[in-house]
């Protein structure tokens, strides 16, 4: 889900994301529209759940349970017109927070005050009645989300067009494909025209075409000064859309601030912690005449390996090797980079560079130096291999040896995989 979302948002036309970042004036002094004050929310973890009266009576108490604080003393403000993200790992309490703002859950302590009409996109098509037609469900679901009959009459065509379901609108929704179902749900929810829109990772809906229209609609809402609260762990999406972020960790608020600042801290923290232990996708095989001892990423002249590089950094990919036995004739080293969603970014070996030694022995390292790191933001896996000259024998193949992050650098934010190392020129043919 995360990966799809990230791809989708990354592939959104650059014009949209740029508009998002430049065209909005957010009243930083305006009174906040959402005030979260010292909110605590506990869940009961039942050891033996009494869902039956008999069980409750037999044990002479309601149930054995332990309290678990899903949200622990969290406070923040959200200002009108801003797009506010809540990030954190699974189980950090971010979705619970969103449900509290949506009034689906009620905090045990503290308060949440909101101003204006709220619409929550937590599950698309919640409340669709399978036996009723698409048309009837538009009215029903719209009404559940807070639209009046008159508003729905006015918006009906727009909703149906947006979902791309004109021909099926009088069919019962149980005959819809899951894509159609969700598209209709999204289309209704996005047309509610709320003052505050709460979104929980639901933007990965439908095909590419629908995705693009969603992104456009989203940008339109932002431009119209709507407040959006987004829960996500797709960093690409969050970075592209959000002005400010709250980072939650085990129910506590770790940090609130400008998106860029929070993401940098979050990635620094999460990735150091998680990836040093070695990624789970690591696979390694080979005959062992040549060993790859380490694969390192270095930035500038700093000899300490890193796991986060920035766009535009001078990056060295260093493959440390050792030959345990007899010298090996004409070995070839190479590496490959895949983005975490599977996009093959690059594959490089030095055979094409004419670097193959006649014989290799002892211990050493090969460096591949990139002057200006040209890869866009995201999570990447680095693999390296040592093979013979014909690639018929593999000495050591280390798949996904290092997982690293590319963070935004000095470059202007755009979308895609690569920053092309080019420049613009302008010719005037006629004045």
């Amino acid at each position: 889900m995360t990966d799809i979302t990230e791809v989708a948002m990354n592939s959104a036309p650059a014009s949209i994301t740029n508009k998002v970042q430049t065209n909005r004036g957010i009243g930083s002094n305006a009174a906040p529209v959402i005030v979260v004050e010292h909110v605590r929310k506990k869940f009961r973890l039942y050891h033996e759940r009494n869902n039956s009266l008999k069980a409750a009576l037999m044990r002479r108490r309601v149930a054995k349970f332990e309290d678990f604080w899903a949200i622990d003393d969290v406070s923040f403000d959200i200002r009108p017109g801003e797009t506010f993200g809540i990030i954190g790992e699974n189980g950090s309490g971010k979705s619970t927070m969103l449900k509290c703002i949506a009034r689906i859950l009620r905090p045990d302590h503290g308060s949440i005050t909101t101003k204006g009409k709220i619409s929550a996109l937590l599950e698309l098509g919640a409340g669709f009645h399978p036996e009723l037609s698409g048309r009837e469900n538009v009215y029903l679901n719209g009404s559940i989300l807070g639209l009046s009959k008159r508003e729905l009459d006015a918006k009906f065509d727009e909703i149906v067009d947006f979902a791309g379901l004109s021909t099926f609108i009088d069919q019962p929704v149980k005959n819809y494909s899951s894509g159609m179902y969700v598209r209709l749900g999204f289309s209704i929810a996005i047309n509610v025209d709320p003052d505050i829109l709460l979104v929980d990772e639901v933007l990965a809906v439908g095909d590419e075409n629908f995705q693009r229209r969603c992104a456009e609609k989203f940008a339109e809402l932002q431009n119209n000064g709507k407040t959006i609260v987004l829960v996500s762990h797709a960093m690409g999406q969050v970075r592209a859309l959000c002005d400010r972020l709250a980072w939650m960790n085990h129910g506590k608020l770790e940090m609130v601030g400008p998106a860029k600042e929070v993401i940098d801290n979050y990635l620094g923290d999460v990735h150091v912690e998680r990836f040093r232990r070695g990624p789970g996708a690591e696979v390694r095989w080979g005959t062992g005449e040549v060993n790859i001892d380490a694969i390192e990423l270095l930035v500038g002249n700093d000899p300490t390996p890193v796991l986060t590089v920035r766009q535009g950094d001078q990056v060295t990919i260093r493959i440390r090797y050792s030959v345990p036995g007899a010298p090996v004739a004409r070995p070839v080293f190479g590496f490959a980079i895949y983005r975490s969603d599977g996009v093959h970014v690059t594959g490089v070996n030095y055979r094409e560079h004419g670097m193959v030694p006649e014989e290799l022995s002892g211990v050493g390292s090969y460096d591949f130096v990139v002057d200006h790191w040209p890869v866009f933001t995201g999570t990447f896996d680095l693999s390296a291999a040592a093979q013979n000259i014909n690639y018929t024998q593999t000495y050591d193949w280390w798949q996904n040896a290092v997982r690293f992050e590319t963070a935004p650098g000095a470059f202007v934010e755009a979308e895609g995989v690569l920053i092309l190392p080019g420049e613009w020129k302008h010719q005037v043919s006629k004045r």
Binding site: N50, L53, A56, I104, A126, G127, E131, S143
Partner: protein, 270 residues
């Protein structure tokens, strides 16, 4: 009171949820809405056969209408009972049935229970209209009593709504409630003078305390009220008015209080 204001503001949603209940009820059945008539009709036929023909049950004689017809007399009680019975039994599992809504969208949760009760109210009203024409067929014009009938229907709706709110909320926590109520309703049916006369019960119960306890049954008041109005064509006695009014107000207040108390944790418990 803000909760009430919110409900009033969003009353359109209540209408739509009620329509959803009504539309969903007979979708994909060949006879569709005809079922809502066929069910009570067959029930009336069977009960008339069993209790009048086989068991020799006799109706009250309408005063002043002079009617002496077991089926009409039975129907007044049976339709009244059906509204309470269906309204309650269909509504108790309604929060569980709509758990996807409760967990994903905010709106006044009372609406889920209320829309279910209201959908049965609509059924009841249609049945009452058909019943009026039945009376007409037997030469009785009862249309002038409709305003008073409507008042009792309103009171009975509040009564059923209160019970439905309370038990549907409890059912979220203890799923036994729906089964327990199912058994209780069977007993309640026979404790209410529907297939026998109120006078018959009074003859059979010898102690005064027993008769008082028997008379506490709120459904007895409602059944009496509709029979007075439609079958006998007279204004029900003051005790019936006060009893129905009191029981509907108490039921609603208690039911709503219980519901409001349990409501904050619905999304977690479902």
């Amino acid at each position: 009171m803000t909760a009430l204001a919110e409900m009033i503001e969003r009353r359109e949603l209540l209408t739509n949820l009620t329509l959803r209940e009504l539309r969903g009820k007979f979708k994909r059945t060949a006879l569709g809405w005809a079922w809502s008539m066929l069910n009570p009709l067959s029930q009336i036929a069977i009960y008339s056969l069993v209790f009048s023909f086989f068991l020799g049950g006799i109706p009250e004689v309408g005063n002043p209408s002079g009617l002496n017809n077991f089926t009409l007399w039975l129907t007044c009680g049976l339709l009244t009972w059906n509204f309470t019975n269906s309204g309650l039994q269909a509504t108790i599992p309604s929060l569980l049935g709509n758990s996807n809504l409760v967990k994903k969208v905010y709106f006044p949760r009372e609406f889920i229970a209320a829309s279910s009760v209201l959908s049965w109210l609509v059924t009841f009203l249609i049945e009452l209209i058909v019943l009026c024409f039945f009376f007409l067929f037997f030469g009785q014009v009862v249309f002038q009593w409709i305003p008073l009938v409507v008042i009792f229907v309103a009171m009975q709706t509040l009564f059923v709504l209160g019970l439905a709110l309370m038990f549907s909320a409890l059912n979220v926590y203890f799923r036994d409630v729906q089964h327990f109520v199912g058994i209780f309703m069977q007993m309640w049916f026979y404790l209410t003078p529907i297939v026998y006369r109120t006078a018959y019960a009074d003859e059979k119960i010898h102690s005064a305390i027993g008769r008082t306890i028997y008379g506490l049954n709120p459904m007895l008041r409602f059944v009496d009220a509709y029979r007075d109005l439609l079958y006998s064509q007279r204004v029900p006695p003051l005790a019936t008015w006060l009893g129905c009014l009191g029981v509907s107000i108490v039921s609603l207040l208690v039911g709503w209080a219980v519901f409001s108390r349990l409501e904050p944790r619905f999304a977690e418990e479902l």
